[in-house]
Amino acid sequence: MSQNINCRIVRRRQVLQAGAAIGALQFAAPFIIQARGETPIKIGMVDPLTGAYAAVARSEVEGAKLAVQEINGKGGITGRPIELLVEDSANDTGTGVQKTRKLIERDGVSFIIGDVNSGVALAIAQVTNEKKILHVVPGGHSDAITGSDCHWNVFRVCNSTVMDGNAIADVLMEKFGKKWYFLTPDYAYGHSVQAALVKKLEAKGGKWEGALAPIGTPDYSSYLIKAKSYGPDVLINVMGAGDQVNSIKQYVQFGLAKQMPMGGTLFELESVLALPDDARAGWWTYEWYWNQPKVPQAAKFVADIKKQTNQIATARHWFGYVSIHSIALAANQAKSVDSVAVAHALEDMKLPPEVGLIQNTAYFRKGDHQLMSDVFVGQAHGAKGNPDDLFEVTDVVPGEKAAGPVEQSGCKLTYPA
């Protein structure tokens, strides 16, 4: 019996020693991308590196890292190198807010980028606004970010749901008809996509029905049963991330692909890759696509991402890339890292083609700080030769056209005095 206790104490001691060693490192510096040279300019990036959105978040981080490398190779921002500090928000708002405070208060970052999750992005925006730090949202889609909850210091790269909806609605009506059935996730993103599409549909006299499915629904058969019995011209799948993958997988397994065409707004390349080949179908909008023969600069970006990550470049890589480059360009133009000055410089600034990587010119609209970039409308398909080329672009809609007038965004920006 006593020998037992001794054994445990010895093991416990070893554990304690190891723990003490780790504990001594308790307050060391966080995970950083190092840069050499003089006092670096720190940019903080908060994204959900673990949890349901880990795949797309990591792509955004990779894109940002590539941009940091490129900029540092050319002298950095106002002659100073960039240091990228990445923190995991774990898809949790409390953590996101805390990490943002940590980056600003303890690490002294000059700019913040994040989050994929719109709810987290909005909560972080409250903090960055309070601290007067420029904040770029690479991939959070909620309309409120550049709409009712916009701030002078917040800019967004990815499309608003209204942009995506407007770009594809007419295409879907022409191709299929005006009787739609919606499969929508029951949270703000889903509601706003549906609202945008419904507005366009009803304006042309279309009719629709729909079902709201909770996030994380594993089984879609009951929803698909209802959809089928309604007999729509096209099934609009608004689900996101893993739910979209599951619902499409089941839609295809039920043989519905031949009976009921499918479309929607976002169907990201990461999700397409998670599906077996025969399930890659439907009509969607892409916020950026890698295969653009008319844009020579895109090929270099794709090659660089491939080399860095061994993956095909997706819109998410591009979001992170554009976020960093925009900040650098604006700061260089303003010759300052003061957020107010940089924000002013970023408004209406035209992104050069090697950053925009699209046919038209991308710029952040002054009225709501939303990036006006091309919306790619097209059809997903299985691999035909190139295993990465899973989307055929039929239309490229310029951002301003898809976004609608800035007065309708509901955004009122007030700069600090």
């Binding site: 673990t50 949890g51 349901a52 880990a54 795949a55 990591r58 029951d186 079902a211 709201l212 499915a213 909770p214 994380g216 629904t217 594993p218 089984d219 058969s221 009951s222 929803y223 698909l224 049963i225 209802k226 089928k228 019995s229 893993g242 993958v245 599951n246 997988k249 089941q250 295809v252 397994q253 039920f254 043989g255 519905l256 009976q259 990461e270 999700s271 890759l273 998670a274 599906l275 077996p276 399930a279």
Partner: protein
């Protein structure tokens, strides 16, 4: 309308059988060892991922057996090194341990197989609907029901007629006496745990055909499994079987009238059962005081 009801009831049965598979494994482990296995969802994910990795080499059917077996081996290793030490202690500790294991599983599966969802496909002849009218009944779902049916039958036969099974049942009722009768209780617990984990791994392989393979895939099924056990009655395997089917069918039926409440109805049933008959529909009073 009747057609819609029939469709959804049948659909609910299909979902229910899946819950049954998960819940039975949980129940087995809970009944004999008093351990709430929070890591059950993690084992499910591991089973699915292993099948994905193995099937290019040995085919889908062999993977269907091999992956759960491998998962059960991992389960045995974990039971012998970690969980075993906690049997005599307050149930708090085994709860916390499996809780921590769940974290580790999620992270390790993400580290090994990536954060990206993976496309696991069963053979294509299975993923067809049986008819255009009954499009939501694919051969795969029937296959799932058949597998679960066979497994449940096998489990009940095992528990009834094999020596090990009888000992497990006896151990659920009175472990001390079983031990006094000379049965190696340690080995018994390990084997029982292994059977429970086998079921979880199998559920993972089956789920992989229907859902995408991702590190968080087990988390959604864990709670309904708990509810199935509570509704059916803690300590009763028949109860768990019934509970799983009940909540599946209830969920399917609710979709006809209130689709957004289809998940909530599971918890409503649980609340009602706890109010009216706290031991569960088929539970025995005092089994888990």
């Amino acid at each position: 309308m009747t057609q819609l009801i029939l469709y959804n009831t049948f659909n609910g049965l299909i979902i229910g059988t899946f819950y049954v598979l998960m819940a039975l494994g949980l129940s087995l482990i809970l009944n004999l060892s008093g351990v709430i296995n929070f890591a059950h969802g993690g084992f499910l994910a591991v089973g699915g991922y292993l099948a994905y990795t193995l099937s290019p080499y040995i085919g889908f059917w062999a993977a269907l057996i091999a992956a759960p077996l491998l998962t059960a081996c991992i389960g045995i290793a974990i039971e012998r090194t970690l969980i075993r030490r906690l049997y005599g202690r307050d149930p708090l500790y085994s709860l916390l341990l499996t809780f921590g294991l769940a974290f580790i599983f999620e992270d390790m599966t993400r580290a090994i197989w990536g954060a990206q969802g993976l496309p696991f496909t069963p053979p294509s002849f299975l993923t067809q609907p049986i008819s255009p009218d009954f499009f939501f009944i694919t051969y795969y779902r029937l296959f799932m029901m058949a597998v679960v049916g066979i497994v449940v039958l096998g489990l009940f036969l095992f528990l009834r007629y094999t020596r090990l099974g009888v000992r497990i049942r006896a151990g659920t009722l009175d472990l001390e006496t079983v031990s006094a009768l000379g049965v190696n209780v340690r080995a018994l617990r390990t084997m029982n745990f292994a059977v429970g984990i086998f079921l979880a791994g199998l559920a993972g392989v089956l789920a992989g055909g229907n859902l995408s393979l991702e590190p968080t895939m087990g988390a959604n099924v864990l709670m309904p499994s708990f509810v199935a056990i509570i509704v059916g009655g803690v300590g009763s395997l028949h109860g768990t079987l019934f509970g799983g089917l009940l909540i599946g069918v209830a969920s399917g039926l609710t979709t006809v009238w209130f689709p957004s409440a289809s998940e909530a109805v599971i918890y409503v049933i649980m609340a009602v059962v706890l109010l009216v008959r706290p031991r569960g529909l088929m539970g025995e009073e005092g089994i888990m005081s």
